[in-house]
Symmetry: C2
Subunit: 327 residues, 2 copies
């Protein structure tokens, strides 16, 4: 295992300490590193709290800040945050307008956020994201997995909350964005969980895992490594057919790296995917290319397409100041 | 070779097309993809032009935009841009205040930028960056290599140019920033150049290359893989001793990923490096953590420390709108 670590048990703590000190102008850590929260809170707005297993950085702590999340709860690597983490985060950032939990659709995350919602005082609501079209059921989920599309929900709902949308409106908006968002991923290599020390799954030198999950869960099929265009064609077809968008619809295209794939390749995949989506009549109105929802050191990427309307496009464009997204 | 590519000869063209279409609000491509330039030019300011071999994305095209570069010339992978690329870029963005070339210290880059400066009409000046303390002479350079510190020069001088600094002032400022900036890198794996198809160098499963260059050039020594703290200690010691900073000096700390290293590890290295630099009396006043000067898919990172004064800190903080840096 070739990683920058000191001890496998300290990876998360040391990385969080680095994150919090590098971005001390934006965020601070809760006690015992249970959550990352905004340094400056606005008690009048709906507070957005997300979280999940670590190893997907910058998801979610990198999206804490003005215009996006109020707090994020980092679980251990690929492990759900505990209910007490979530309760403490909610209590730390809750104001008068309630707390909205944004939860990726994994059994552990859903269970722990549900328990937290029962314990937490004050009004809470939950959005569950499930944008991954690859499989209907997976190692850790019943129903589709929530993957990179989650950050689009966080950005758009975060902007609405900042503008004063109430809790019910935030829920409706988040569910609308999630329903308009589809993703699919592919792995060229496995990730290696520090505590395990060996790759999560074995892939031959000429193989890839089409439809992989962000924890290295199996996808649709193990196939021979293909050209970028062939990979993009399979992924954009799966996404576009599931989305069923009308010709001329405006969309956001996110090409997301899984941690081990460099920028030069992500832009090449963006070029392929954009061309194919445009040939289907979609209009790519917004773009994001980078490693935003990672799977430790996995080489691979996901494509996400999210349909936009005038309201959601304006909310996407609204100012954001977080460690990982800023405009 | 596991990469998202269609054909090794088209990697750069397809990636540049993707980059230009993803960021069409900020940049446009020159004819035959010879350069990436700002969409909106300001003819009254000094025009900043950089460039170098590709494979280091987002360096340099990702730094084209308001507050930073006016144009960047991408050579083939790990190959200098040609003089005619540089001349055409300079002609496309030159205004009344002259053109400043920012060149990393590699023999090929220096030669081609020099030839371009001789051919180009109008006033030009050049800053050469050489921040890498690892070795005094390397495969492609006489004297120290220019690495991730280059983006700090580009950011600070870019902000000054935006505020109306003249060509001589930009040169003096850039040379001052370069003189206050030191970097050192380490590789856990080799990169693989697409046209070669195999790793540039061989590293054992338990080895790392301390002081590696951003093209996979040899560093100081091949050693056994060590803990993150031991790696950070060697790098911060080399940097701090070379920099010779007084206690209490303010510094920018950049932890830069080489392309195959995920964010969770970069923040862990940031945490280690910051602690060590602070124990030497440096005050880490600004931070940047991410993969900004990469070496294709190499796993590894570099540390850069740049001393700041009130002027350079304010210029670092000044607004910037590029694909890779924005605030």
């Amino acid at each position: 295992m070739k990683k920058f670590i000191n001890a496998v048990d300290n990876v998360l703590a040391e990385s969080l300490d680095g994150f919090a000190s590098a971005h001390a102008d934006l965020v601070m850590l809760g006690a015992e590193r249970k959550f990352v929260r905004r340094r400056e809170l606005n008690p009048k707005k709906v507070a957005l709290v997300s979280g999940g297993g670590s190893g997907h950085e910058p998801l979610h702590a990198g999206f804490v800040g003005y215009g996006m999340l109020d707090a994020a709860c980092p679980g251990q690597v690929f492990t759900s945050p505990t209910p007490d983490q979530i309760v403490e985060a909610a209590q730390a950032v809750a104001g008068d307008a309630g707390v909205l939990f944004i939860v990726k659709n994994y059994a552990g995350d859903r269970m722990n956020f549900e328990m937290a919602a029962e314990i937490a005082e004050g009004r809470t609501a939950t959005i569950v994201t499930d944008d991954d079209v690859a499989v209907e059921k997976s190692t850790y989920s019943i129903g589709r997995r929530g993957v990179a599309g989650t950050l689009i929900v966080e950005k758009i709902v975060g902007a609405a909350a900042e503008k004063g949308a109430d809790l019910a409106s935030c829920v409706a908006l988040g569910e609308r964005v999630n329903a308009q968002t589809r993703s699919m991923g592919v792995a060229l290599t496995s990730c290696t969980v520090p505590a395990a020390g060996t790759p999560t799954f074995a892939l031959g030198e000429d193989e890839m895992e089409m439809g992989v999950g962000i924890h290295g869960e199996p996808g649709r099929r193990r196939v021979k490594l293909a050209a970028a265009d062939a990979i993009a064609a399979e992924m954009t077809t799966a996404i576009a057919e599931d989305l069923g968008a009308r010709a001329g619809a405006e969309a956001l295209l996110l090409v997301n790296g899984f941690g081990g794939t460099p920028t030069i390749e992500l832009y090449l995949m963006y070029n392929a995917a954009r061309r194919m989506l445009e040939s289907r009549g979609l209009r790519i109105a917004r773009s994001l290319v980078g490693s935003y929802a990672t799977s430790l050191d996995m080489a691979g990427c996901s494509l996400t397409v999210s349909l936009l309307d005038a309201e959601t496009a304006a909310l996407w464009d609204a100012p954001v100041r977080t460690a990982a997204l800023r405009w």
